[in-house]
């Protein structure tokens, strides 16, 4: 029995440790590289961090992360990513919650048609309509603008479906009581529905913030000037073909800076995020 217990304890620990190692190793190597000089990286990477952390991060953040190409300082690219992530997260939540409210709490001609119109967007990711979407944004004069980066991504079938699902669980008695008290639809939304949705909103915020921060194809299409570049796009442009000319230390410092905000959001809001992720996909 003792050996049995030992086996059941040690096998999981071993496998989990291995999983954690494979997950963490690329991140650790990246962090270590961001604390070294380029010469140290070229001579063979040490396992432990060096002493160049502050100069590397200072250079990346406020000067330029690479001499290869003209690249804006990282803080300005992080600011673009932040605006993009925030506007997309808040915008998607805002327009989805009101459209779900309309679909669930009202009866009107065209209700199902509109619901299906929203639903269909699930099947139309940017990747299947690259050129025409680009043309629409260009025709509207929205290339290289925050509006162009964010507004076209704000429509969301998943968020609408999540809120719809949740609204259907609000008891009819609550709506009746509100109506007897003389509350109209707007007051009911503000005083009852919105507070009840707080957990769902928090969960969605985490997922959508990460979604916005990590966008790739969209900013690649919509931005051509370096000053509008997001940090994820900025890094891949700094690397080029990944040859020996790359300033790996500052590029890796930039990579750490690009990972940090979404990572902190996930870690700090872990509980909501896990619940939200599993719920939105239901």
């Amino acid at each position: 029995m003792q050996t049995m217990n030992d086996r059941t304890q040690w096998v999981p620990i071993l496998i989990i440790t291995l999983g954690v190692a494979i997950t963490a190793f690329p991140l650790w190597i990246t962090f270590v590289a961001s604390t070294l000089t380029n010469r140290m990286i070229a001579q063979g990477m040490p396992v432990l961090p060096g002493d160049q952390m502050i100069p590397n991060y200072m250079q990346a953040l406020f000067d330029s992360a690479t001499t290869r190409i003209v690249s804006p300082p990282v803080w300005s690219m992080m600011w673009n990513s932040f605006i993009m992530a925030m506007v997309i997260a808040v915008g998607k939540i805002a327009i989805s919650i009101i459209s779900a409210y309309a679909v669930v709490f009202f009866s009107f001609p065209g209700r199902m048609l509109f619901f299906w119109m929203i639903f269909i967007t699930l099947m139309l990711p940017v990747e299947v309509r690259i050129v025409p979407t680009y043309q629409v944004v260009a025709d509207l004069g929205m290339l290289n603008t925050y509006a162009g980066l964010t507004i076209p991504l704000i429509a969301s079938a998943t968020a609408t479906l999540l809120f719809r699902q949740f609204f259907l669980t609000i008891p009819d008695e609550l709506v009746e009581a509100a109506k007897i008290d003389g509350a109209g639809p707007i007051r009911f939304f503000r005083d009852v529905v919105l507070p009840l949705s707080a957990t769902n909103i928090a969960a969605l915020f985490v997922i959508l913030f990460i979604y916005g921060w990590n966008q790739y194809l969209w900013p690649l299409l919509i931005t051509t000037t370096a000053s509008m570049s997001t940090i994820v796009i900025g890094i891949t442009q700094m690397i080029g073909s990944g040859d020996a000319m790359t300033d790996w230390n500052t590029v890796m410092a930039t990579t750490v800076l690009a990972i940090l905000p979404p990572m902190l959001v996930v870690i700090v809001m872990q509980r909501w995020f896990v619940k939200g992720l599993v719920d939105t996909e239901k």
């Binding site: 059941t8 496998i15 989990i16 440790t17 999983g19 997950t23 963490a24 690329p26 590289a33 070229a42 990477m45 327009i95 989805s96 009101i98 459209s99 309309a102 669930v104 709490f105 009202f106 509109f114 119109m117 929203i118 269909i120 967007t121 139309l124 990711p125 990747e127 299947v128 309509r129 690259i130 025409p132 043309q135 629409v136 704000i154 429509a155 969301s156 259907l168 009819d172 709506v175 990460i210 921060w213 990590n214 790739y216 194809l217 690649l220 994820v232 890094i235 891949t236 690397i239 073909s241 020996a244 790996w248 990579t255 990972i259 990572m263 996930v266 870690i267 896990v274 992720l277 599993v278």
Partner: protein, 293 residues
């Protein structure tokens, strides 16, 4: 499904729906319809006039050996990414579920890649496997294993598969873990009392109960491998060397935006649209089943 008690208002519901519908119409439905229309046109070489050519673009695309190769490549890539992202995730979830305590910190580390953009995941792996400065490639060199993803297509393919799978394991892990934790412990205890060993309990109780989630994750992972890995490929290999990592989405983007061959890119977009519609339909069928489950 609808509610019994509702509000009466003529105008308000339309106002509430207006922003979502406006964005949907302008940036989703209209471009999708345009893609379908453009796929039936051929522009002259100066882009001045266009001619309606029925399905000629589809014929050209589907008989293009490069497209057929990209199709096969995408199949290999997607199946590899899905398997490599699903199997370790299931194994890890089963192990974490077994541990009663002391795994919170480890679980947190396991979900971090979810927060990382596919392109950034690509950069992390590109750096580790860089032939001149990479840590892992250095070890491989000293072991005498040949490695150069910038010249060897197979190496490049392995690299983008590893990076794409690594990023997706967290997502699958979370879903498997949620599924495992929803299985009533009494069921497993009853089986244990009846003398079923842990392997037998897994295959006869746990795995069948997880199968709806597994099925759902398979479609999600295929969609991920088809579409969301564009960033990995664009950042790591740019489809190269010599098209070795050019998958369908990358080709549609390249032909449309870089080569500005709109008709052919649009035909490729429409083919991809059919793929997404099929996968989404499968995914939602699963949900219907889970509701009755």
């Amino acid at each position: 499904m609808r509610r019994r008690v509702i509000f009466e208002h003529k105008l308000l519901p339309y106002l509430l729906l207006a922003p979502q519908l406006a964005i949907t119409a302008v940036f989703f439905l209209y471009p999708a319809a345009m893609a379908m229309w453009m796929s039936l046109l051929r522009e002259d070489m100066f882009g001045l006039s266009s001619e309606f050519v029925w399905f000629e673009n589809y014929e050209i695309v589907l008989s293009d050996p490069n497209y057929v190769a990209a199709l096969q490549r995408t199949a290999v890539f997607s199946v590899s990414v899905a398997l490599l992202a699903l199997l370790p995730a299931l194994l890890l979830a089963v192990m974490v579920d077994k541990m009663i305590k002391g795994v919170t910190a480890m679980r947190t580390i396991l979900i971090i890649p979810y927060a990382i953009a596919p392109a950034i995941a690509g950069v992390l792996w590109l750096f580790m496997f860089n032939p001149s400065v990479g840590t892992v490639s250095g070890v491989m060199r000293s072991l005498g294993i040949p490695w150069n993803p910038t010249l060897n297509g197979t190496h490049a393919m392995i690299l983008v598969i590893l990076a794409s799978a690594w990023k997706q394991i967290s997502y699958n892990f979370l879903f498997f873990l949620a599924g495992l934790q929803a299985i009533p412990k009494s069921l497993l205890e009853a089986a244990a009392i009846d003398g079923a060993g842990s392997t037998r309990r897994f295959w006869t109780i746990v795995f069948p109960l997880l199968s709806p989630i597994t099925f759902f994750l398979v479609t999600v992972n295929i969609v991920y491998a088809f579409f969301d890995t564009f960033g990995v490929i664009h950042a790591v290999t740019q489809g190269g060397p010599a098209r070795a990592t050019e998958v369908l989405v990358y080709k549609a983007w390249y032909d449309g935006i870089i080569a500005t061959d709109f008709g052919r890119s649009a035909a490729q977009s429409v083919i991809l649209m059919v793929v997404v519609i099929g996968l989404t339909a499968i995914q939602f069928r699963y949900i219907d089943r889970k509701v009755t489950y």
